[in-house]
Each structure stands twice: as C-alpha cells, then as structure tokens.
C-alpha cells in the first residue's frame, strides 16, 4: 500500500530462479524450487524492513480496518488479508497447517497483513495444501496488495502447488513469517 514498496523484489527473485535453473531438466527445476523454498518467503522481509510504511488508521485498507484476531475460520481473520481459496482451518487443518493427507507446497505467495491487536504489519506466506480435490469449505478471496501475474509471488490465483507430488489444489493456509517493521 502507500509507501510500501514491493517493486522489484519479485523480478529479482525470479531472475535468481531463472539464473540458477536449467530449463532442460525438470528434476533440476523442482530441486531448485524445493531448495529455494525456505528463502522464498523470507526475501520480502529484508525489503519490508527497509520500508517504513505508515500504519495509521487512515492508511489501513478496508480489510485491515475490519479484521479480527479471534476466529481463524472466517475470511476476515487478520492473517488472511491476501488469501484466495478454501481455508485449511475449515478443512481439517489449521491456519498454518494442512489437513490430514494433504501436502504443503514448499513455495507460496506472500502478503503483508496488519494485526489489529498490536497494530504491526506481518509478512504472511500463503501456502497451498495440495494433493486432494478442492476442500470446498470457507471460500475467501481477499486482495490486499494482491497484484497480477507479472508479479506472481503477489498473485493469489496461481495454483501454488509447485514441487509437490500432486498439483491438485486442496486448501490454503497463512503462515506467519515475521514482523514487517
């Protein structure tokens, strides 16, 4: 949002992936994805630390002004500010854990959500749980700072089941990565 500059980190990230990765080998590509996975959601943190976004009520998005911290099975739960899909917390899983038998994707899209309890912004990694049909429960589509496919890590329509045994989409979680400021 205002003053919060994600600009460039996506491309940098993708250039890194592209540079490391041989197009000729699917195994290598998957390997790079998996190895890079822990790095993926952490990269925005340094950028977020560099930025000093305004957190006054006037600067908050509509979602942030109305978010709650009690019920993680509702679309307005604060961590879900950019989630799209079925909440794993309604599907036998949790806010950051997959339902039984589903496989967490090692990569994710990311968001920055404000916790109404402390007013601070946190980096979220939205990890899809994969390998089962669509859960079909608690469908949400929140779009804070959600952008288009040319910045894929900020796009919540992508089936983020890369590097999993099955790319079938089941549900989505919001894993708290850390404080953004």
């Amino acid at each position: 949002m205002t003053g919060f500059d994600f600009d460039g980190f996506g491309e940098k990230l993708l250039r890194k992936f592209a540079g490391r990765t041989s197009r000729r080998s699917m195994l290598t590509r998957l390997g790079a994805t998996i190895v890079a996975a822990p790095v993926f959601p952490l990269l925005p943190v340094s950028r977020a630390n560099a930025a000093k976004p305004e957190r006054s009520a006037e600067a908050k998005t509509g979602f942030a002004r109305n978010a709650q911290t009690k019920d993680d099975t509702k679309c307005d739960y604060w961590r879900y500010c950019a989630i799209d899909g079925f909440l794993c917390s309604c599907c036998g899983g949790g806010v950051s854990s997959c339902p039984p038998g589903a496989e967490p994707s090692p990569v994710s899209w990311v968001g920055t959500c404000i916790n109404p309890d402390d007013g601070k912004a946190y980096l979220m990694a939205y990890r899809d749980c994969c390998g089962k049909p669509s859960c079909g429960q608690c469908n949400c589509d929140n779009t804070d700072r959600e952008t288009q496919l040319y910045v894929p890590q900020l796009n919540n329509d992508v089936i983020w089941c890369f590097g999993t045994k099955s790319m079938e989409y089941h549900c989505s979680t919001g894993v708290l990565v850390g404080k953004a400021q």
């Binding site: 949002m1 205002t2 500059d5 994600f6 600009d7 460039g8 996506g10 491309e11 993708l14 250039r15 992936f17 592209a18 990765t21 197009r23 699917m26 590509r29 790079a32 994805t33 006037e58 600067a59 908050k60 998005t61 509509g62 979602f63 002004r65 990569v107 669509s134 589509d141 779009t143 804070d144 700072r145 959600e146 952008t147 288009q148 496919l149 040319y150 910045v151 894929p152 890590q153 900020l154 329509d157 992508v158 089936i159 089941c161 890369f162 045994k165 099955s166 790319m167 079938e168 989409y169």
Partner: protein, 409 residues
C-alpha cells in the same frame, strides 16, 4: 417397460445387421402392444392405425456453420468444459474439452480450437504431461496432441495462451516458478523452443516479431524470434506493478495491433504493439465519465474497474466495455455493478449501464450487431444487446467462468 423383452434386446447384440434392423421394430411393436392393452384411449376404435415408428441409428452431431454470436463459456472455479452457446437463442450447441486449469485458444483463422492443458497419467497423480490439444471446430473431435515442457496452472486468465495472427504459432506462459514462454509451431504441430522471460507474463502476439508481455518492473517486454536466438527488449517503465497494477486480462485488437490496458485505479493505457512498442500516456476512465480520478489511498470510495475478465473490446468501433463497481483501492476483484462503455478514440464514457446482478466476466461479439455476455458466481450468463443495452435473456447454468467469442483474441 412392461412387455419389453430384455432377452430380445440381448439377442440383437449378436445377430447379423440385417436382422438387427427388423428386431428393433419388433421390440417397439411389443411395447405398443402392451400399451394398447392398458390404455383407455386404445380401447376406442382407431380411425387409422398409428404409424409404426421407424428404427433409428445413433449418430454424432456436427456443429452448424459458426455464427459471430456464438460464445464459449467456461465452467466456474476449477471446473472443466467450455460450453458453446448461440447468443441469439441461448441454446447450447456443444462443449470443448477444456480440462481443469486448461486454457482455450480460438484459432484466429477458424481452422482449429486449441486447448493448452496439463494431465497426469493417473488423473492428478503419476507422470505430468503438458500439451496443446488440437480439436476440429466442426466435429469437436481431437485431431492432434502437441507435447510441450510445461505451463502454469491458474484459473481465469485469457492471455497465458495466445496465438499469432496467422494461426501458425502458439505462445504458452509457464511458471515453474521461473517464468518462461513455450513457442509451439501449429502448422507443423511441434514444440519449437522455450524462451526465458524473467519477471514477465500476460502475453500479446506481436505480428512478424514474436510476442510481447507485461513485466513486474512496469515495462512491456518484446521477444523477437526471427534470429537464431530470441532477443528480449523492454520499453521504459510505464506503470507500477505494485502501486497501480494493470489487469492482466487486457484487450488486444489484432486488426490494429493495439493493446488496451486498464489499471486498478482506472487508468487506460493504449499501446501499439510492434518491434518497438509505443505506449501512449494513460487517461482516467472516471475523468472520461466526468468524475474525479481513481486513487490508491484508503477510505477513498470511487467507481473502480474490477472482476476477473473485467473488460471487453469491440474492435471495429473501438468501444471498450468495462465492469465497474464502487469501492476502495484493492477491491480489484469485486464484481461490476455497472458496465461503462468507453469510446476509446474520443476518450469518453458514452454510457453507464446499471446491472441487475453484479458481473465478474464480460465479452462482446465482434460483428456489427454485437451482443454482450456477462456472468459471475451465479452460474447463469446474461446476454445483452451491446448497442441498446437491452437485457435479452439469461442462459441458465451456462457456467460462471471466462467468456470467449470468435475474433476477440
């Protein structure tokens, strides 16, 4: 089924063809006979006996000659199948086999339908196979499969699979999660090459050059394919991919090689696509309607573009139909409650059309008596006259997904 001899029908499975023809009428006669015994109507003396129904041969339809008023409507979230409807009658004519998360490509020359898709040997397990399936547009039969290295699985994107103007080349976006584009020769039905395209997606055919794409650094990339190796060039940055992104479901006019982009706040960018694309300075859709321009700041309620397929372009008249809603910035997926009709040449909103129900997707036919198709979550597709804006009828259960028409992309 009283009076129907099941053993008799079994027998028809093995008897010679000539006998099978006579067996079916016999079975029908048996049916009619049983009805005569029980029906009070049959008890009255019949002036003329009812004619014996002719036996039938099962067959498979072919599509009639295509009409510009046909629309190709995708099922909703994660559902496959693209239904073909006649927009004049609302009647379903057939279905294209668009599997889950696939992308439909209508050949600009009309010779084939293409489906860029991903299937696994054990449905959604096993070995992954990415391919372009080629269908006959009259029989809708599968005629070829063209294997390729990979593609992105995503819903509701119209520019991840684009076809060159001559219908000979397909460009398929891939994210693995490195981003690249597969080039497929449709004339030879062969995969040609993968072009690395870091930080870019959302493709445009670039006639005689290759293709172009929008990039996260706010530029338009152009990939020239004429040399031994592809060359990638970029325009100067002209938009902010994070502070006021352009909808990646933009419109492209093959006749003029012009792209029309709309941003979250309502800026309209027009670009001439060529070896060196030229992007004109943007202008505000709200200002074109005599209203204040859209802003990114919170608490600012304004009319904003939104939805999944939020705009449609009638190429011949340069009319852009945009789904608009009232909301704050970051409400870019909200369905439209009005259609704003923009005269691109005059830079004026010439009509605002309130909708009875909000809509997420919009497309317009490309003939001189155009129809608008709009749909959303509710599974029905609404058909409107694109000049009088009269709502003609709803097509129930048409599907709530992307809408395609011939000649639009």
């Amino acid at each position: 089924m009283t009076g129907f001899d099941a053993r008799g029908t079994d027998a028809t499975m093995t008897i010679p063809h000539s006998r099978r023809r006579s067996a079916a009428p016999r079975a029908l006669l048996a049916l009619l006979g049983s009805a005569a015994l029980t029906s009070p109507v049959a008890a009255q003396p019949a002036a003329t006996p009812a004619p014996v129904l002719e036996s039938e041969e099962a067959f498979v339809h072919k599509l009639p000659a295509a009409s510009p008023h046909w629309s190709y409507i995708r099922g909703g979230f994660d559902s496959g199948g693209t239904r073909i409807f006649n927009g004049d009658t609302g009647k379903m004519l057939g279905m294209i086999n668009t599997s889950k998360w696939s992308d439909l490509g209508l050949d600009p020359t009309g010779k084939f339908h293409y489906v860029s898709e991903t299937i696994w040997t054990k449905v959604l397990r096993g070995t992954r196979q990415d391919l372009v399936a080629v269908y006959d547009p009259v029989t809708l039969d599968l005629v070829a499969e063209i294997p390729m290295p990979g593609r992105l699985l995503i819903g509701s994107r119209i520019n991840n699979f684009v076809i060159s103007d001559d219908g000979k080349t397909g460009y398929i976006y891939n994210l693995s999660p490195a981003s690249s584009v597969n080039v497929v020769d449709f004339a030879k039905r062969k995969f040609v090459q993968t072009v690395e395209l870091p930080g870019c997606a959302s493709l445009l055919p670039n006639p005689g050059v290759g293709f172009s794409a929008l990039c996260g650094d706010g530029t338009l990339a152009t990939v020239a394919l004429s040399g031994k190796t592809p060359t990638v060039t970029h325009t100067a940055p002209f938009f902010s991919a994070t502070n006021d992104p352009i909808f990646d479901n933009f419109a492209y006019n093959r006749g003029t090689s012009e792209a029309t982009f709309v941003s979250y706040t309502g800026l309209i960018y027009q670009a001439k696509i060529a070896a060196t694309p030229v992007v004109a300075a943007p202008w505000s859709i709200q200002a074109a309607a005599g209203l204040r321009v859209g802003e990114t700041k919170p608490l600012d309620i304004n009319w904003l573009p939104g939805g999944r397929q939020p705009m449609a372009l009638h190429r011949a008249t340069g009319r852009l139909y945009v789904l608009m809603h009232k909301g704050e910035y970051w409400s870019h997926k909200d369905p439209g409650t009005e259609i704003w009709v923009v005269d691109l040449a005059a830079r004026k909103v010439v009509r605002r059309v309130p909708l009875k129900k909000p809509a997420e997707n919009i497309e317009v036919t490309q003939d001189d008596k155009p129809l608008l198709f709009i749909n959303g979550d509710e599974d029905a597709t609404r058909v409107l006259d694109a000049t009088s804006y009269e709502q003609k009828f709803d097509i129930e259960h048409a599907g709530g997904g992307l809408i395609a028409v011939a000649g639009a992309r």
